[in-house]
């Protein structure tokens, strides 16, 4: 009988051990989220913005537009609204599918925030940081789950 009890204890311990091994591998999910964040960020920055309609240089992507703005100086209200229009879709998409998302763009002379930043006591935060141009523009997309 004692052997039987030992066997049962052994099985219980083995089950718990396997359960711990399975549950202690959050790395895959974390990698997936980081990869998704990177992909969405890349696509967002590659989206085209029509800066000067009618000009031969009218079509540039968001990354190029941000670099141009950093050279000019602090962006005006119109430019901020244009950037907001460009990034809102991605922020909304990530919020729907992954979790609360916000974007911080550091233009050197100004720091722009898009999307609702969570208050204190949030869970895990993932970030994808991109230095654009010579590094004077930094775009960081945050995700919390």
């Amino acid at each position: 009988m004692a052997v039987l009890v030992d066997a049962l204890i052994f099985l219980v311990v083995l089950t718990l051990l396997i359960a711990v091994i399975y549950s202690a591998s959050p790395g895959k999910m974390s990698e997936d989220r980081t990869e998704m964040l990177r992909s969405y960020h890349s696509v967002m920055l590659a989206g085209e913005v029509s800066a000067n309609e009618g000009s031969s240089m009218s079509v540039i992507n968001l990354a190029e537009y941000l670099i141009a703005l950093s050279i000019i100086g602090a962006p005006g209200e119109e430019q901020v609204l244009l950037i907001e229009k460009m990034v809102n879709g991605t922020i909304a998409e990530l919020k729907m599918t992954l979790g609360n998302t916000w974007l911080v763009i550091d233009l050197g002379s100004a720091v722009l925030h898009f999307g609702p930043q969570p208050s204190d006591g949030i869970g895990d935060v993932y970030a994808d940081r991109r230095e654009l141009g010579d590094g004077s523009v930094v775009s960081t997309l945050f995700l919390t789950v």
Partner: protein, 135 residues
């Protein structure tokens, strides 16, 4: 078992048999779970198929000729009986193009989405490709 708590020979044999049987059942359950996972649809294989059929580009653009007019879905990956692909702008649930191929789903469906640039009316904007596949 005698008065000193020592099991007899037959009882020991029985206990060992119980242990072996229980361990075998346990291993079979684990193995069947692994086999089930292997039978699931491989998402990366589906993505590779989509790339090879010009339906998705990791660093490229999917061009749409207009709302509802875009790439066509001809054929299916091996072992897949049906597929639905939806292209839509990021943050907007209204589809621009919906592609369907194969029989309606009757069982488990693998669903995933990937961001991509969509070109429509000469403008490239962030979009999402939603894929559903089933066996």
């Amino acid at each position: 078992m005698d008065c000193e708590g020592v099991g007899g020979f037959l009882e020991s044999i029985l206990a060992v048999m119980v242990v072996i049987t229980a361990s075998s059942i346990f291993l079979v359950v684990l193995a069947s779970g692994t086999m089930q996972v292997e039978e699931d649809i491989d998402q990366e294989e589906v993505i590779s198929w989509l790339i090879s059929n010009d339906l998705f580009f990791k660093d490229g653009v999917v061009s749409l000729d207009g709302p509802g007019v875009g790439p066509s879905l001809s054929g299916l990956p091996e072992g897949i009986s049906g597929m639905t692909i939806v292209y839509r702008p990021s943050g907007n649930s209204t589809p621009l193009v919906v592609l369907n191929q194969g029989e309606p789903s009757t069982g488990d469906v693998l669903a995933f989405q990937r961001p991509l640039l969509i070109e429509l009316n000469g403008s490239k904007f962030p979009g999402v490709m939603e894929v559903r596949v089933w066996r």
